[in-house]
C-alpha cells in the first residue's frame, strides 16, 4: 500500500509537471494581455503532431527537435495573433476579453477538424527507443521520459522567469502587464509586446505538446482537454501568476494521481472540486496577489 502511494505520488509529480508546462503559456498570455486563449490546447495538439511527424518521417529525436517545434509554434502563434487577435486586443477591458474569448472558441472548433482532415483521427504516440524504459529507486519506478519532461518543465519555468526579469523584452512585458498605458507612454511598443507574448505562449504550448506525444497520445480532440487542465492549474496558481503555475500543476497532478487509487476514472472530478473550493475561499489563487 505504501508503495502504491509512493508510486502514485511520483506519477502525479511527473504528470503534474506536464500540467504546469501546459498551463504556463496560457498563464503568461492571460497575465499580460487579459486574453483567455482557450485555443491554447490546440497549439499543444499541433506541437504534438509536429514532433510526431518529425520523428516518424525524418527520424528527428523529439528532444532534439524541441527548438524546431517551439519556433514553428512561435511563428504560427504570431500569425494567428496578427490576423485574428490584434484587433480584439485593442478593445477596452470587458469587450476585449469577451471578443478574444469567442474567437479562441471558434478556433478550438476549427483546429481539431483540420487536424482530423490532415492526419486522420488515429491516436499517435512518439516512441523513440528509450520510451518506456525506467529505473527503480526504493521500490518506485521512474520513467526516463517523464523525468526528462519534469526537467523540461523546470527549465522552461526558470528560463521564463529569467527572461522576464533580466531581458529588455521581459521588462516590457512586465511593464505592459502592470499598466499598458503607462508602458506605452514610456516608449514601450505595446503591440509588439502583445504579439511576442502571444507567440511565446503558443511556443510553450507546443513544447508541452511534444511531451504529451511522448508520455501519452496525440489526437485531434485532445486540445480542449489540455486547455481545461491548464485552466484549472492557473486558477489554482492565481490568474496570471507565472511562478506558481508549475507548483499548482504539481499539486493537481499529485491529487489526481492519488485520488485515482480510490475513485478510479472519476479522479477528473477532483480537479473541478479543487477549482470550486479555490473560487469560494481563495479566488486570488495560491500564489496570486489578493
Amino acid at each position: 500500500m505504501v508503495e502504491l502511494f509512493a508510486q502514485s505520488f511520483v506519477n502525479g509529480i511527473m504528470i503534474g509537471a506536464l500540467y504546469g508546462l501546459a498551463a504556463i503559456g496560457l498563464s503568461l498570455i492571460f497575465g499580460v494581455m487579459r486574453i483567455l486563449n482557450i485555443a491554447h490546447g490546440e497549439f499543444l495538439m499541433l506541437g504534438g503532431y509536429a514532433a510526431f511527424w518529425m520523428f516518424t518521417l525524418n527520424n528527428i529525436d523529439p528532444f532534439l527537435g524541441l527548438p524546431l517545434v517551439a519556433i514553428a509554434l512561435f511563428l504560427l502563434g504570431a500569425g494567428v495573433y496578427k490576423v485574428l487577435f490584434s484587433h480584439a486586443a485593442r478593445l477596452p477591458g470587458e469587450l476585449k476579453m469577451n471578443t478574444s474569448l469567442l474567437i479562441a472558441f471558434g478556433l478550438s472548433l476549427i483546429f481539431p477538424q483540420l487536424a482530423t482532415a490532415a492526419w486522420t483521427g488515429d491516436e499517435r504516440a512518439i516512441t523513440p527507443v528509450y520510451s518506456g524504459t525506467s529505473f527503480e529507486l526504493l521500490g518506485v519506478r521512474f520513467g526516463y521520459v517523464p523525468l526528462a519532461g519534469l526537467l523540461v518543465a523546470l527549465a522552461v519555468t526558470f528560463g521564463l522567469r529569467f527572461f522576464l526579469s533580466k531581458t529588455y523584452f521581459g521588462k516590457s512585458v512586465r511593464g505592459t502587464t502592470e499598466n499598458w498605458k503607462a508602458a506605452r507612454l514610456m516608449g514601450i511598443n505595446v503591440d509588439r509586446t502583445y504579439l511576442l507574448t502571444f507567440a511565446l505562449g503558443a511556443a510553450l504550448a507546443g513544447v508541452a505538446g511534444i511531451l504529451v506525444g511522448l508520455t501519452q497520445v496525440v489526437m485531434p480532440p485532445i486540445g480542449m482537454h489540455w486547455t481545461l487542465k491548464a485552466l484549472i492549474v492557473i486558477v489554482l496558481a492565481g490568474m496570471g501568476s507565472i511562478g506558481g503555475t508549475l507548483v499548482a500543476g504539481l499539486i493537481i497532478g499529485v491529487v489526481e494521481a492519488v485520488s485515482h487509487i480510490f475513485i478510479g476514472p472519476y479522479a477528473i472530478v477532483v480537479g473541478l472540486v479543487i477549482f470550486l473550493l479555490i473560487m469560494m475561499f481563495r479566488p486570488q489563487g495560491l500564489f496570486g496577489k489578493a
Partner: protein
C-alpha cells in the same frame, strides 16, 4: 395599439403556418429539419438570455442541455413517468445544478464564470461517457410506432414558450437590469441594480430553458451515448446561432436557427463528415470580428441608412 394588433396577428399567423407544416407534408427530411430548427430556437434563446442580454459568456451551456436531456430521457424511458412530468423534471434539475456553480462563480467577476462553466461542462461530459458507457436506444415497441409528428409539435410548443419567456423577461424590470449589467456593471451597481441577483436570475431562467430543450431532444432522438448530450458542439451551435442572428434580440436566434440548420444540412451533403464545423467556425469568427450585431443588427442598420 393598432401597431400591436398587427404585430400579434403576424406572430399568430407564423405560428399557425409552422403548426400546419406536418399537415402539408409528410416528408421526414422536412419534418426533421423543422424539428431541429425548433429545438435550436429553444436552445439558442436560452443562451441568449445569459449571453446576449446579460453579457455573461457561458461556454458550458451544453451542461444544462445535457442534464435536462438525461433527466427527461431516464425518467421517461426507465421509470416510465409521463413525458410532461419528465420534461418538467429536466427543466428543474438543470437550474438547480446551475445554482450550485452559479453562486460562487458570480461572486467573482467575468472571467471566472466563463472558466467555471467551461470546466464544469467538460467534466460532466467525461463523467457521462464513463458512468453510462452504453448508448440509450428507444425500446422496440416505441421504435415501431416512432413518428416525427408528436416530436414536431412538442418542439414547436417548447420553442413558443421559450420565445415568450425571453420576450417577457427582456421587457421586464429584470430584463432592464440584465442589460444594464451587460453594458456597464459598475454603473448598474451605482444605479441600484443588484448584480448578483440579476445574473443569477438570468442564469436560472437560461438553464431551465436549456434543460427543456434537452428534454425535447431526449424525446426526439432514437439512440445516442449519454456523453454525446454533453459534447461542446452544442454550446458552440447555440453561441453561433445567437451571434449570427443577433445577440440580445428576440428575433435574432430564430433567424439564426433557420440559417444554421439549412446551412448545416446543405454543407453536410457537399463536405466530408464533420468538416462543416470548420465552415461554421470561420463564419463565427468573421461575425464576431466584423459584424458583432449579426443579421438583425445588419437589417436595422440598412433601414436606418435608407431612412436618411
Amino acid at each position: 395599439m393598432a401597431h400591436n394588433w398587427k404585430k400579434l396577428s403576424l406572430i399568430g399567423g407564423i405560428i399557425v403556418l409552422v403548426a400546419l407544416v406536418p399537415v402539408m407534408t409528410r416528408r421526414t427530411d422536412i419534418l426533421t429539419w423543422f424539428t431541429l430548427i425548433l429545438i435550436y430556437v429553444t436552445l439558442s434563446q436560452s443562451w441568449n438570455i445569459i449571453g446576449g442580454y446579460t453579457g455573461q459568456i457561458n461556454l458550458g451551456h451544453v451542461a444544462f442541455f445535457g442534464l435536462g436531456a438525461l433527466t427527461t430521457r431516464y425518467l421517461w424511458l426507465l421509470f416510465g413517468l409521463p413525458l410532461p412530468v419528465a420534461l418538467l423534471a429536466g427543466a428543474v434539475v438543470a437550474p438547480l445544478v446551475a445554482l450550485i456553480i452559479g453562486v460562487p462563480a458570480f461572486r467573482l467577476r467575468g472571467i471566472y464564470f466563463i472558466i467555471v462553466t467551461l470546466v464544469f461542462a467538460e467534466i460532466l461530459r467525461h463523467v457521462a461517457y464513463t458512468a453510462i458507457p452504453v448508448a440509450s436506444v428507444l425500446p422496440a415497441e416505441l421504435l415501431t410506432t416512432y413518428s416525427l409528428v408528436p416530436r414536431y409539435y412538442l418542439s414547436l410548443t417548447v420553442a413558443v414558450v421559450a420565445v415568450a419567456v425571453v420576450y417577457v423577461v427582456s421587457n421586464s424590470r429584470l430584463g432592464l437590469g440584465m442589460m444594464a449589467v451587460r453594458e456597464d456593471e459598475d454603473a448598474a451597481r451605482t444605479s441600484g441594480v443588484s448584480i448578483l441577483r440579476c445574473k443569477l436570475s438570468a442564469f436560472l431562467i437560461s438553464t431551465a430553458l436549456a434543460g427543456l430543450a434537452g428534454g425535447v431532444f431526449a424525446y426526439y432522438y432514437v439512440g445516442a451515448y449519454a456523453g454525446y448530450l454533453f459534447e461542446p458542439v452544442w454550446t458552440f451551435d447555440s453561441v453561433l446561432i445567437v451571434f449570427v442572428g443577433g445577440a440580445g434580440t428576440i428575433i435574432g436566434p430564430i433567424i439564426g436557427s433557420v440559417f444554421f440548420v439549412f446551412l448545416q444540412q446543405w454543407l453536410a451533403t457537399i463536405l466530408p463528415g464533420g468538416f462543416h464545423l470548420v465552415v461554421f467556425g470561420i463564419i463565427f469568427i468573421l461575425v464576431v470580428l466584423f459584424w458583432p450585431s449579426g443579421i438583425v443588427g445588419g437589417v436595422v442598420e440598412l433601414r436606418r441608412r435608407r431612412r436618411r
